[in-house]
């Protein structure tokens, strides 16, 4: 009996051995498992995550990507801030992306990543993200996972309610978090309270290649516009913007801007506004549109004017919906019918009805008043209901204090983050009954469901993006990275799966299934398509050229050497290194660093050309070398530059 067992075990081993022999001889083994193997948050090595999570970097100015459910950080994409790690914002190719009307800016505060949509579904083409500080919107290409375009928003300040997108990627929007004098001029700060400042809603048009241009700015009353969300399906022609400081305070806003029981959701019919472009005035509005063509230096275009119209002069485009209290998120349900306002300073989640809104705008009796010609609709006229509170049921705290933001799943549920009560409230979209509360640690800001802003959410996972980590991670001095908690929401009850730290401050994240993006991700730049004006496509063309005091070194990098063998210049020369990586392999960049350079590392992808400037100020012989470990002979990948008097 025992023998038989051993025998079976041995045969089993042999079969495994045979199978592995077969696969290794036939070249079928190994490789990348494109499918994930999940059960909880653990991903068996070699298998990949099921979902991409795009996290805003907040004050890092970047975007980072985590795999879900493992939480592993896969990449950081530099967007609004320079990135010495790969030369972004320093090299001649990407410097131009950070040009603005205020000059070259090395940093911004990135808040809301938004994926492009077709028919209300993620289409995997682009990711947009806003810069809050000096108003801009960036477009990241999801073939390359690189920032390809940044447009500046003039006549704005604090671009927070941005860059939410229409269901067919017609427009991305920008809104002023901080109202300012428009046009900018020298007036007393106190005049804010007299309504002399303004806000703007900016319609940024996308063409079929994702290129951005400003179609129209609609001037609106001087409140602070906070967050936005666009309609879909029945409400596809509309976008919604929350506001706070309807008190129009200009100082001590924490007290003075928090007086009113209700502020407003601004309902914006962009189709109607589109019809008003022809009657809009051309006004000053200096702004830059920077575009990075594939494997070429970025192009910065300065534009000096925009089209602008006052909301009152475009009737039917703007309405105010009273909503409690200093609402933050405004989010539209997958069917386009529910407009959910999360009342940050209240314990209420007010749910407006799109069909009631349509009735109200045609009913004079539903108008409470007008502000600067903009109709304010009665609260009850558009209200579908308020999410019912259930306190302390079954030992769980269901109170939602400080509701901030709501997303939706594929099972008729909504998920609202509750900043103060540290939980995610799960509620039924039809009955508005609370189903359960999921605890978070600590001070959750935004949350994200996979495809949670689309017409047909993927569901399965929700993440909560926390503001504090406190006792959840090993202490490393006074501050901790912000923490994310992950829940499996595929069953009747949410199940806590995982938590992991993030980079910067993730204000918001969008998640997309891996199958949408993984297959089309580019592996390297094809040398045949390299149209860079300073590319060196073969090693025999590596050379040094002089143009007066300017020297251009055309450098090639391959495994494992640079050409030319030596570079010789004169003191006082301005040297441009143009480095082309001749390799055509996935994940095979070369780095390039020169002694004493003011530019940081150039990380040159296979087939890519990157350039940087170096001042030959000191006589001597200086090394340059590859910084990215590329082969067993990586240490040997080094040459010299000589500076003669």
């Amino acid at each position: 009996m025992r023998n038989l067992k051993n025998n079976i075990r041995f045969s089993g081993l042999l079969i495994v051995f045979t199978a592995s022999l077969f696969t290794s001889f036939c070249g079928l083994g190994g490789g990348n498992g494109a499918s994930s193997k999940s059960g909880g948050a653990w991903i068996t090595p070699r298998y990949m995550d099921e979902v991409y999570a795009f996290m805003s970097g907040g004050y890092s100015g970047q975007v980072s990507i985590n795999g879900i459910p493992s939480g592993r950080i896969i990449k950081q994409i530099p967007v609004f801030s320079v990135f010495p790690e790969n030369g972004y914002g320093f090299d001649e190719e990407t410097k131009g992306l950070l040009m603005t009307s205020q000059g070259f800016l090395p940093w911004d505060d990135s808040h809301h990543p938004v994926l492009s949509l077709t028919n209300g579904m993620q289409d995997g083409r682009w990711l947009f993200i806003n810069a809050n500080n000096t108003p801009r919107i960036a477009r990241i290409d999801l073939d390359w996972f690189e920032t390809k375009e940044i447009i500046e928003i003039p006549n704005s300040a604090g671009n927070h309610g941005s860059p939410y997108i229409t269901e067919n990627s017609d427009y991305v929007f920008a809104a002023t978090r901080f109202s300012v004098p428009i046009p900018q001029r020298d007036i007393p700060i106190e005049s804010m309270s007299k309504g002399e400042f303004n806000g703007t809603i900016t319609m940024v048009k996308l063409d079929k290649d994702g290129h951005m241009s400003i179609d129209l700015q609609v001037r609106v009353p001087a409140f602070h516009y906070d967050k936005s969300g666009c309609g879909k399906a029945v409400s596809k022609d509309w976008c919604f913007f929350t506001s706070y400081n309807t008190e129009q305070a200009w100082k001590m806003m924490e007290a003075e801007a928090s007086q009113n029981d209700k502020d407003y959701i601004l309902a914006f019919n962009w189709k109607v506004a589109q019809g008003c472009i022809s009657k809009a005035k051309t006004v000053p509005g200096v702004h830059y549109r920077n575009y990075h063509p594939e494997n070429q230096p970025a192009i910065s275009e300065k534009r000096t004017t925009v089209k602008m119209i006052d909301a009152k002069d475009c009737p039917g485009s703007v309405y105010y919906l009273p909503t409690p209290k200093s609402p933050h998120g405004v989010d539209v349900s997958p069917d386009g019918e529910l407009i959910v306002g999360s009342g940050k300073l209240s314990a209420q989640i007010a749910v407006h009805s799109f069909s009631k809104l349509q009735k109200a705008i045609n009913d004079k009796g539903a108008i409470e008043k007008t502000i600067d010609g903009v109709p304010v609709l009665k609260y009850e006229a558009t209200l579908y209901g308020e999410v019912q509170k259930k306190e302390k049921e079954a030992g769980k705290d269901y109170l939602c204090l400080g509701p901030l933001h709501t997303e939706f799943d594929n099972k008729g549920r909504a998920y609202t983050s509750c900043f103060l009560s540290n939980n995610i409230m799960v509620w039924d979209r039809k009955t508005l009954d609370v189903i359960e509360g999921l605890q978070t640690w600590y001070n959750i800001g935004h949350l994200s469901v996979v495809g949670g802003n689309t017409v047909k959410p993927y569901g399965k996972y929700v993440i909560g993006l926390d503001k504090q980590a406190k006792d959840r991670m090993l202490p490393v001095g006074p501050e901790l990275h912000h923490l994310v908690q992950l829940y499996d929401i595929s069953g009747d009850k949410g199940v806590f799966l995982n938590e992991f730290p993030t980079i910067g401050e993730p204000h918001y994240a969008q998640m997309a299934p891996a199958e949408l993006l993984a297959k089309k991700s580019k592996k390297f730049y094809n040398l045949k398509d390299n149209k860079h004006p300073h590319a060196t496509l073969t090693e025999d063309k590596a050379r040094v050229e002089r143009k007066g005091k300017e020297v251009h070194a055309y450098v090639t990098a391959t495994l494992t050497h640079f050409k030319p063998d030596k570079i010789e210049v004169k003191k006082g020369d301005t040297v441009y290194f143009h480095v082309t990586n001749l390799t055509q392999e996935y994940d095979m960049p070369h780095g390039f660093a020169v002694y004493g350079a003011e530019f940081p590392n150039l990380l040159v992808m296979p087939g890519q050309t990157k350039s940087a400037m170096w001042k030959a100020d000191n006589v001597g012989v200086y090394p340059f070398y590859c910084t990215d470990f590329c082969s067993a002979l990586h240490q040997e990948m080094q040459n010299y530059i000589r500076v003669s008097p």
């Binding site: 023998n3 025998n7 041995f10 045969s11 042999l14 079969i15 051995f17 045979t18 022999l21 077969f22 290794s24 001889f25 036939c26 070249g27 190994g30 094809n526 040398l527 045949k528 073969t538 090693e539 025999d540 590596a542 050379r543 040094v544 050229e545 002089r546 020297v551 090639t556 391959t558 495994l559 494992t560 050497h561 050409k563 030319p564 063998d565 030596k566 570079i567 010789e568 210049v569 004169k570 020369d573 001749l582 390799t583 055509q584 392999e585 095979m588 087939g607 082969s631 067993a632 002979l633 000589r642 003669s644």
Partner: protein, 163 residues
């Protein structure tokens, strides 16, 4: 006895699987068979030499050891399919093919990489190798592949070294 026969069946099965799935020595990659003409195709040789100069000379010479191995006589050492697969699929070859693994050790652990050569271009390079291995006097454009390129023109030679 029963036990032994069962084992031997499994072993034979394993052996059969391991040898029957592919031809020996052709490596791993897109090329499963190559048709070689009786005569050398000189047009292919010329194209092969041009591609070799641009894409291969950074690491290879024909009769001289450079970064990678000497390529003279490669057509007698390896099957034509192996040569093309090594050009087109070096990463997997180095990871799995026993000969390629051995070559890595013999060449300072230097991994060969893809340089963007198409299958047609790889076929041209194979023809170049066949030409080299024919044993006849080689045309100049092939001999030149062994030359070390002149050091690049520098922007301005220091005065002291100009002479």
């Amino acid at each position: 006895m029963k036990k032994i026969s069962k084992l031997s069946i499994i072993i034979i099965f394993a052996f059969l699987l391991s040898v029957s799935c592919k031809k020996e020595g052709i490596g791993i990659g897109p090329v499963e068979s190559v048709e070689l003409g009786e005569a050398i195709d000189d047009a292919k040789v010329e194209k092969g030499a041009a591609t070799f100069k641009l894409k291969c000379t950074p690491c290879h010479k024909i009769t001289v050891k450079h970064v990678g191995p000497v390529l003279k006589d490669v057509t007698t050492r390896r099957k034509p399919e192996w040569i093309m697969n090594m050009i087109l699929n070096p990463e997997e070859m180095i990871a799995k093919d026993p000969t390629a693994k051995k070559l890595l050790l013999e060449n300072n652990m230097m991994k060969m990489v893809r340089t963007g050569i198409s299958q047609d271009e790889a076929r041209d390079i194979l023809e170049l190798f066949r030409k080299v291995d024919e044993g006849k006097e080689l045309p100049d454009y092939i001999k030149k592949l062994d030359e070390t390129p002149k050091p690049p023109e520098t922007a301005e030679q220091p005065a002291a070294e100009k002479k």
